[in-house]
């Protein structure tokens, strides 16, 4: 399978506060690739840098260092003409559906613009049909959402309109930032199934960002686990979920809420360090929460290959 996108030493720093502020290294020298026709999940807790990676992949945010290569081309070195081509092939769905829509326009606008910009020769009737079809495929009633302003719709409805919009463009790569976290269980599965069908039928790749491990397991081919801007583990779903190595991945898998067993005892949790301290840490960023942390962990653990496609960044597995 050929590589569609490659992230090379991708790094993004933010400055917080003007005077006496500090730096947040939101994404820290991350390397990964997304192949044609696969669903690649990025999971991690809130603030781990998922959205920042998505924005860089979508050419909305310039990396501080490193690059995103789409079909071998640095997305920030595209020529003016190529940008339209890029967005014809690469589309996105954003995390916060309320912010995705311009409050002054009706939601129809984003759907109509797709045709205006990318498929100007479509007839009026076909446009309408395709829009309705796309809305129905994400479980919406076109009559109920068309012609409305964003504030008249719920978060889940807006999110599905955003998904329908992306589907209308028929991209090669879809970067979906938590596309289903606002949806209820039954709609979620529908949306994920749509992504899987697109993959199997048309070879569309998806970068699926989320924090729900069961969903990532259900749909993806490969998974990347992110913690505070660094990759802690990466591999096929089977590797990561069935043979988890990193203590953080283990901890995540243990705390998935299940419907067949109630939590028994309260989870012990360590006092978390404040953000500025974690980002200033020169060692493993997970160390403050890690039950196995040792003095070695004051140094940054390298991303080590432990199996064909299985990578982990932890001193427990690093070959010295």
């Amino acid at each position: 399978m050929s590589v569609l996108v490659r992230a090379v030493d991708l790094t993004k720093e933010f400055r917080v506060g003007m005077i006496g502020g500090f730096r947040i290294i939101a994404v820290d020298e991350v390397n990964f690739e997304v192949r044609e026709g696969e669903i690649f999940s990025i999971v991690g807790e809130s603030g781990s840098g998922k959205t920042t990676i998505a924005r860089m992949m979508l050419r909305l945010l310039r990396p501080t260092r490193g690059a995103i290569l789409y079909r071998g081309k640095d997305v920030w070195k595209l020529k003016r003409r190529e940008i339209k081509w890029f967005y014809r092939e690469v589309q996105g769905i954003f995390q916060d559906p309320y912010a995705t829509f311009n409050p002054v326009h009706k939601v129809d606008r984003v759907l109509n613009l797709v045709f205006q910009v990318f498929y100007p020769h479509t007839s009026e009737r076909e446009r309408r049909e395709r829009i309705e079809e796309a809305l129905k495929s994400v479980g919406l009633n076109p009559r109920e959402v068309l012609g409305k302003y964003p504030h008249q719709l719920s978060g889940g409805q807006l999110q599905r309109i955003a998904i329908a919009r992306a589907l209308l463009i028929k991209p090669k790569l879809l970067v979906a930032d938590e596309p289903v976290s606002m949806l209820d269980a039954s709609t979620r599965i529908d949306v994920l199934n749509i992504l899987a069908e697109l993959r199997d039928r048309e070879g569309v790749s998806t970068v699926l960002i989320g924090h729900d491990l069961s969903l990532a397991y259900y749909i993806s081919d490969r998974v990347l686990v992110l913690y505070r801007g660094s990759i802690v583990e990466m591999g096929s779903v089977e590797d990561v979920f069935e043979k988890p190595l990193h203590p953080y991945t283990e901890m995540l898998l243990e705390s998935i809420p299940r419907v067949d067993k109630k939590w028994e005892k309260r989870m012990e949790f360590k006092a978390e360090a404040e953000e500025r301290e974690v980002y200033a840490l020169s060692g493993c960023r997970f160390a403050p929460r890690c039950p196995y942390a040792s003095s070695k962990c004051a140094e940054r653990p390298p991303l080590t290959r432990v199996d064909k496609e299985h990578y982990v960044a932890c001193w427990l597995y690093a070959k010295r």
Binding site: K84, N102, A162
Partner: protein
């Protein structure tokens, strides 16, 4: 062309809704009521009085009477005539100067905030220079070099110097809107920057820009009063500021000629207060932080 008609219709609709929303606020209604009254006075006032503002009426220092509703001053000018003509001039300066300052400020702010980089740095340098050099000194120099000054020149001077804070404010707003997801979505749709600025960002700031204009309008009136007061006002004609200046210069208060000194001050105060009330009301209506969702 069907789409354009639709879009126009949508814009009009949004505009109507915006106005209805604004008028639902009592502060906006009261403020606008006061302003409307003064505009009306400025428009029809000149027809209600037989005197020109700088016409000797024969009566000197006359107290208010049916003949002279607001009395006359030490030069024998009719105060009511002066007031309505002066009001006209002040409103003109406010409108022209305020509009010009808003226009320049908004354009500079949009371009600077959306483009960023070198463009932004250049424009902001200019803005900051204008902001820090004492404008009054600049105005004195400019004004002193112009032998003839009318309302138009005064407006121009004000408009060209009062925009920097608007530019900075609009730039800040544009920058924060620029990072909003709906602008990102427009970028993903490969829309060109101009369309993004005018179709996605600007409509979100329409009410804000209107508020800025209201502030600039009031600012320009006050600015003009200040200029008049220090003797840099119009060389011909009359304005509220000139009336005040003369009243003070000729010791109107000490001489007990309250009808000379008080009306122009009162009108200016009322006008500025009304503008301020409208602005607070609009802020309540449009400021998203004070509204839910």
């Amino acid at each position: 062309m069907r789409i354009d008609v639709e879009k126009l219709h949508g814009t009009l609709q949004a505009f109507r809704e915006g106005i209805a929303l604004a008028l639902s606020n009592w502060k906006v209604r009261i403020g606008l009521g006061i302003i409307a009254f003064f505009v009306f006075l400025a428009l029809v006032g000149p027809y209600l009085t037989p005197y020109k503002p700088l016409q000797f009426t024969g009566a000197i220092n006359a107290p208010p009477s049916p003949q002279h509703p607001l009395g006359t001053n030490s030069f024998g000018y009719d105060i009511f005539s002066q007031l309505v003509y002066g009001l006209r001039a002040s409103l003109e300066v406010g409108l022209l100067g305020g509009a010009l300052a808003t226009l320049i400020g908004v354009v500079v702010g949009f371009v600077s905030g959306y483009k960023g980089g070198i463009v932004d740095e250049g424009l902001m340098m200019l803005t900051n220079i204008l902001l820090v050099i004492p404008t009054l000194a600049l105005l004195i120099i400019i004004a002193a070099y112009l032998p003839y000054r009318g309302v138009l020149i005064e407006s121009l001077i004000i408009g060209l110097t009062a925009w920097p804070w608007t530019a900075r404010a609009v730039r800040a707003q544009t920058m924060s809107l620029r990072n909003r997801e709906f602008v990102h979505l427009a970028i993903l749709t490969a829309l060109p920057s101009t369309r993004i600025i005018f179709e996605e960002i600007a409509p979100n700031m329409a009410s804000y820009i209107f508020m800025v204009f209201i502030l600039q309008f009031g600012g320009a009136i006050l600015y003009a009063v200040g200029l008049d007061f220090i003797g840099l006002g119009p060389t011909k004609g009359i304005s509220l500021g000139l009336m005040l200046q003369q009243a003070v210069l000729w010791n109107a208060i000490q001489l007990g000629l309250w009808w000379w000194a008080i009306p122009p001050g009162l009108v200016i105060t009322l006008l500025i207060t009304a503008l301020y009330i409208v602005n607070t009301g609009l802020d309540e209506v449009f400021n998203p932080r004070l509204r839910r969702r």
